[in-house]
């Protein structure tokens, strides 16, 4: 049986008197994990785009010669 520790959403957010400390840590955590996820996914798709452009350039050079 789940027993919630807070009577309302406002009480959960306040976590009196430690809400600002607890939520700033979890906000920072979400920011770091979200930022890292974006970074690694972007790096992967960027690598594919760069290689595709490189092949297109090489293909262009081959057709010119």
């Amino acid at each position: 049986m789940i027993e919630w520790q807070f009577e309302s959403l406002a009480a959960l957010i306040a976590m009196a008197p430690h809400g600002p400390f607890v939520w700033s840590v979890y906000g920072l955590g979400a920011l770091v994990l979200g930022g890292l996820t974006w970074h690694v996914r972007h790096a992967h798709s960027h690598a594919i785009t760069r290689i595709q452009r490189q092949f297109e350039r090489e293909g262009g050079h081959e057709s010119e010669t």
Binding site: I2, E3, W4, Q5, F6, L12, M15, A16, P17, H18, G19, F21, V22, S24, V25, Y26, L28, G29, V32, L33, G35, L36, T37, H39, V40, R41, A43, H44, H46, A47, I48, R50, I51, Q52, Q54, F55
Partner: protein
């Protein structure tokens, strides 16, 4: 035959294809475990009679602190593999582990500092555990900086591997700092050998989040390594075929 599994890691293509599946599994496991563990820790776990609600920071701080050290250990093992067997994938692993490990180390330091204010009355003290964790962050930063400062990737890889191995001496110092010196920092909340001091309603969500953050780290490292493998192998035929299939 016994070494076949090890030699497979020498093939970037073998890794790239399999890591795609590992990455997906790790990502979904991380999302599920972190959702359950974090909601449980923040809203369902009982309040601590001494620290009040501020102790709920433990559900992020402990997992990321474990990981900051575990990822450095993994990086040191990859460094040894690179120096002994000259495996290209070990160098890629080092690069990815350094970035993810540094981010987790900064998060461990920041969450610890924020937790310190309501608990100790200060954000920072120069005690053994905090200082050795700060040194770990500088070691990560040094390895990232060293690689970007060197033009030749092979020389950069070897230099980073040596620095990673030398820096591994800091890991036992971090682990035993709370026993060797007087420190404000509490001893380990969870160990493999002893029964936890806190009740199950508190340590079960912590264990779930530890597993969740490990899965998240695995997702991030695999995803990062796949991008780096593609870049390094950009002239290989299999990459040409793979990128062609993306059109």
């Amino acid at each position: 035959m016994a070494w076949r599994w090890f030699h497979q890691w020498g093939s970037p293509r073998w890794f790239y294809e399999r890591a795609s599946r590992w990455q997906a599994w790790a990502g979904w496991i991380a999302v599920i475990l972190l959702a359950v563990g974090t909601v449980w820790g923040l809203a369902i776990a009982p309040v601590d009679y001494q620290q009040g609600h501020s102790y709920r920071i433990i559900y992020l701080h402990v997992p990321v602190s474990f990981l900051a050290q575990a990822l450095y250990l993994a990086m040191a093992i990859a460094a040894a593999v690179l120096l002994v067997w000259r495996m290209k994938l070990a160098d890629v692993a080092m690069q990815s582990l350094a970035i993810v490990g540094f981010a987790f180390c900064v998060l461990a330091l920041a969450s610890g500092a924020i937790w310190g204010k309501p608990t100790w009355g200060t954000y920072w003290v120069w005690d053994a555990r905090l200082t050795s964790m700060l040194i770990l962050a500088f070691l990560y930063l040094g390895i990232i900086g060293l690689r970007s400062a060197m033009l030749d990737p092979n020389t950069a890889g070897k230099a980073c591997a040596i620095l990673a191995l030398v820096g591994a001496i800091n890991l036992p110092i971090i682990k035993y700092s709370v026993e060797w010196w007087n420190t404000l920092h509490q001893p380990a909340s969870l160990t493999l050998t002893e029964k936890p001091a806190m009740p199950a309603s508190m340590w079960v969500p912590l264990l779930i989040n530890i597993c969740g953050y490990y899965a998240a780290a695995a997702y991030l490292v695999f995803a990062s390594m796949r991008g780096l493998v593609l870049h390094r192998e950009r002239r290989a035929q299999w990459v040409r075929e793979l990128v062609g299939a993306h059109d």
